[in-house]
């Protein structure tokens, strides 16, 4: 490496990603201000309000960015397992000393601030997965190697489910896309997709119809591939799995899911209408976004958010403020920024010489993608209510820090894209 790398932390950084990052962070800050605005505390720097605190989180994130960029790239590879170990310990610890908030033991409380280890577990798992897959010559087509990777993913998932925080746990499923990129058979993704479809179907229409349908489909496939013997096993296996899944759904739905989770799914599927009760959040959120129409109501003029009809409006439901005050134009602009960011990250990932960096890059992209899709989907009623933040925009230190770290480790790795980190 040449001399200037030593002198400037910004040597070779991907400015485009950094610009998008700051755009999103500033959009977030402005909208948190709008969401919690009240005339008594009109200064955006008021530290007693969420927007004032968010400024603190933003400033500290900038500090963190500089630190990350000053650290040697190899450090992240080198210490991946250490981070992983620390977060696992924290995830265990939080179950015992965590603060109980809304039925979940997911937060450490340190003075006035709260820290959510699950947020950092995503970064650590991402690093660890990259390190593990990059350092050994894994063959993801093999069941054994698959299981090793799954174990790495599911260890933190299991701990997070104990909190219980199903939303955060679900985000870890994004790593399957990463594994797919690295050679995991498409079966897993198809299986996941089919499971979701079957799950939804079996809640909507009587089980027996689905099973008859599946049997007919199996018969058709067997007839079509009657000359390809090796497909028999696959087809019949899938059929049995599907039928087992369908029959299991009702049990799982009624016995494993918690009542509020059942309600959220029923609401989403339109099986339950209750705009005053459990459907209140989603209903008000849809009203907020829907009433924004094409150009929105204007900054600080969103009545839904300003008058507190939307709950959690600076954190999980921050997209309501965007949708209401900036309308379709603003919403699409924000989603456009995310799309651009995701595409850019994929480009960055693909230009890495090091497998570690590439896998890590995909991890970053899929984590951000999952958060955006689930969070926005939830606010407009196409996903069940899962309490996860909108990356870079939602209020919250843990969230902003962890996404900043997640993204800037990649940017740091990218400055060294021609090197091979092992």
């Amino acid at each position: 490496m040449n001399q200037s790398q030593q002198t400037s932390p910004f040597y070779n950084v991907d400015w485009m990603t950094i610009i998008i990052y700051f755009c999103l962070v500033l959009i977030g800050w402005a909208n948190i201000y709008a969401a919690v605005y009240d005339a008594d505390h009109s200064s955006i720097f008021d530290m007693s309000r969420n927007y004032g605190k968010q400024l603190l989180w933003i400033s500290s994130s900038v500090l963190m960015i500089i630190i990350i960029l000053l650290i040697d790239s190899k450090f992240f590879n080198f210490s991946a397992y250490v981070f992983y170990g620390i977060t696992i310990i924290l995830l265990v610890a939080v179950l015992f000393v965590g603060k109980l908030v809304g039925g979940n033991r997911a937060w450490f409380e340190i003075g006035a601030f709260r820290l959510q280890p699950a947020e950092f577990a995503k970064v650590a798992t991402c690093l660890t997965l990259a390190r593990y897959m990059g350092s050994t010559n894994l063959k993801l087509a093999d069941l054994g190697d698959q299981l090793k990777c799954f174990t790495l993913i599911f260890a933190p998932v299991a701990l997070i489910l104990l909190q219980p925080d199903a939303g955060s746990a679900m985000v870890f499923m994004s790593f399957f896309i990463v594994l797919y990129r690295e050679g995991l058979p498409p079966f897993y993704l198809v299986f996941g997709l089919v499971s979701v479809i079957l799950f939804v179907l079996s809640l909507l229409i009587p089980q027996s119809y689905i099973i008859i349908g599946l049997i007919l489909l199996t018969g058709f496939l067997l007839w079509r591939d009657r000359r390809v013997r090796r497909h028999y096993f696959l087809i019949i296996g899938s059929a049995i799995l599907s039928i087992a899944l369908v029959t299991g759904v009702n049990y799982a739905f009624n016995n494993i899911l918690k009542p509020h989770q059942r309600d959220r799914i029923d609401l989403l599927l339109g099986k339950k209408v209750d705009p005053k009760g459990v459907g209140y959040n989603v209903n008000q959120s849809k009203i907020a976004i829907g009433s924004g129409q094409f150009l929105g109501k204007g900054y600080l003029k969103g009545t839904q958010t300003k008058y507190d009809f939307v709950p959690e409006q600076s954190t999980d439901f921050i997209f309501c403020t965007i949708g209401e005050e900036w309308g379709f134009v603003g919403s699409v602009l924000v989603l456009g920024l995310y799309t651009f960011l995701l595409m850019r990250i994929v480009v960055i990932a693909e230009r890495q010489r090091s497998t570690f960096s590439r896998i890590y890059g995909y991890g970053v992209a899929t984590i951000i993608f999952f958060h955006v899709f689930i969070n926005v989907g939830m606010t407009i009623g196409i996903m069940p209510v899962i309490g996860i933040p909108l990356p870079f925009i939602s209020y919250g230190g843990s969230s902003l820090w962890s996404f900043t770290i997640l993204l800037f480790i990649l940017i740091k790795l990218d400055t060294n894209r021609n090197g091979i980190i092992r």
């Binding site: 896309i177 797919y180 990129r181 690295e182 050679g183 008000q284 849809k286 009203i287 907020a288 976004i289 829907g290 009433s291 924004g292 129409q293 094409f294 009545t303 839904q304 300003k306 008058y307 507190d308 009809f309 949708g323 209401e324 309308g327 379709f328 919403s331 699409v332 989603l335 995310y338 799309t339 995701l342 595409m343 994929v346 693909e350 497998t355 995909y362 992209a365 899929t366 993608f369 955006v372 899709f373 926005v376 989907g377 407009i380 009623g381 196409i382």
Partner: protein, 657 residues
Amino acid sequence: MNSFFQRKFIIQAIFISAIFLLVARLFYIQIIDDRYLDFANNNVLRRLVVYPPRGVIYDRKNVLLVQNEPVYDLMAVPKSIKPFDTALFCQLIEVEEDKFVEKLQKVREYSRVKASLIEKQLSAETYARLQEHLFQFPGFFVQNRTLRKYPSPIAAHVLGYIGEVNDKLIELSKGDYRQGDYIGISGIERSYEKLLRGQRGIKRVMVDVFNREQGSFDEGKFDTAAVPGDKMITSLDAKLQQYGEALMQNKVGSIVAIEPSTGEILAFVSAPNYDPNLLVGRIRGNNYMKLLKDPLKPLFIRPIQAQYPPGSVFKPIQALIGQQMGLITPDQRFPCGGGYRIGSRLVKCEHNHSPQNMVESIQNSCNAYYCWAFKTMIDNHPGMTVDQAYTAWRDAIEKFGIGVKLDIDLPNELKGLLPTHKYYDKIYGANHWKSSTVISLSIGQGELGITPLQMANVMAGIANRGYFYRPHLVKAIGSNKLIRPEYAKKNSLGIDSKYFPPVIDGMERVILAGTATYARIPDIPICGKTGTAQNPHGKNHSVFMGFAPKDNPKIAIAVFVENAGYGATWAAPIASLMIEKYIRDSITRPKAYEDRILNASLLPGDQFNASGNIKKKDEKKAETSDKKEEKKPVKQVKPTSVTQKPREEKKETTQKR
């Protein structure tokens, strides 16, 4: 290692299609589906009604009759209530503690964040006391409202009262009224409701999720200001009204006084009356029930709802119609001889006097004269059958405003009773009756029902020598003093003015030398007529009608005192006092003359009793309550009761005085 490079595209496709799904959904809810904006507006927008003050009501000399009094509704927001000293609080607002606790619990169950009514219409004094302590009771506050207040307790029947609208009216009004609004229920309050209530303003405010006000919507661009209700200047003379009510205390009956030159009603007394302040606010319900159950029916508006056979006061009308028809001349004399004989029956005349001319017939109230006159008009009407002649006579009577509604500006006016020829055809068969069959009509008895208002109006018409203005109670509306055009229109009695002098002379002589000399006032020439309306259920009603002065009359008056006997004994002196009070503003007659009336108690079942003792009166009320049902004046003239015994009635002799 990059053997799966092409999977990059699949992953990008997943990202893009998923985000496209979000965009599509956003497109749908933000652009295609426009219900969401309405939902959002429904969430935050509240239409607040700004109540205008109701119009105040004055008498003709700008004496305030009805004003608005502020009261205070106690409200509570359960969420903000902190534990407090319930006993002290209840003591302050004067309610029982357990009732209060119960109410508060109900309110809590209804909504924890919305403000609800706890106790309505606290008086200003209660509020003043509470206000000092209110800071100790977070979560409670008061809201201003207004109630009606009547500085002097007069003219309850004219002014009427207001109350909360009922559900049926709310529905009928199509949005004009809402739950809790006040509406005029009777009297002027009802007939001028639309003007008195003013125009409510609408304020659009935004509220937050807890229903707390957050300021006006769109800088109040769509707000409308409340327009206060119009003030009403009534035609009543408060002093005269008060005097009339005093004269009528402990009596049952009516006084109606009209200014003939305008049709403005100067006094409108319905006795027994009640204090209008009783029907205001929290006490209204109980008091209303009390009044409703009172056997003397104080809520009954006698001047427009009680219908009496007019008796002798009908005679001047007959004299005028006879002349107008060209069938009787003032000089024509009809024999008396103590009565008018129809076969074996006799319509008795108390005075067995010589044949009378028109002036004398009125002065002496000769029954026989009017039987002859009636026979002349009905049986001997040239070129007319009895039916036709009767109809012509009836039309002429109707022109005096008898048997029709005068459309006074009060609700529930009755039109009285004036049968058509068909009525008699039905009873006796067509062409099977003539004047002698219905001879009672000639002297104002039989199937006739006339309200005191109609009677006073007849007097106004005679005083004007041929026309009247529709009697009314509101002479000017609003600050522009508008008058309803229909009140400025002359209504003809259908009698030429040249026919009036003999009748009016006769009426003057009634006071000077006839049946009502007792009513004479020095220097104020009164023209009038006494009457003693037969009451089949009890003692006769004492009736007087008249006007004064004879020339350029200032006041026309009708007085009915139920069950009081002769017209000259009670009704005439009451009218006389009213006339003097109005014209002179003071009474020149000896105090005893006035006191005799003021102290008399002529309630049904009473013997003439000069005691004004209220306690005694109450006892008597209780004693006689069971009998009184029978004595409702309306009943006396109900067609049914008449039809049952028309033949019998003809046999009755008619007394007069």
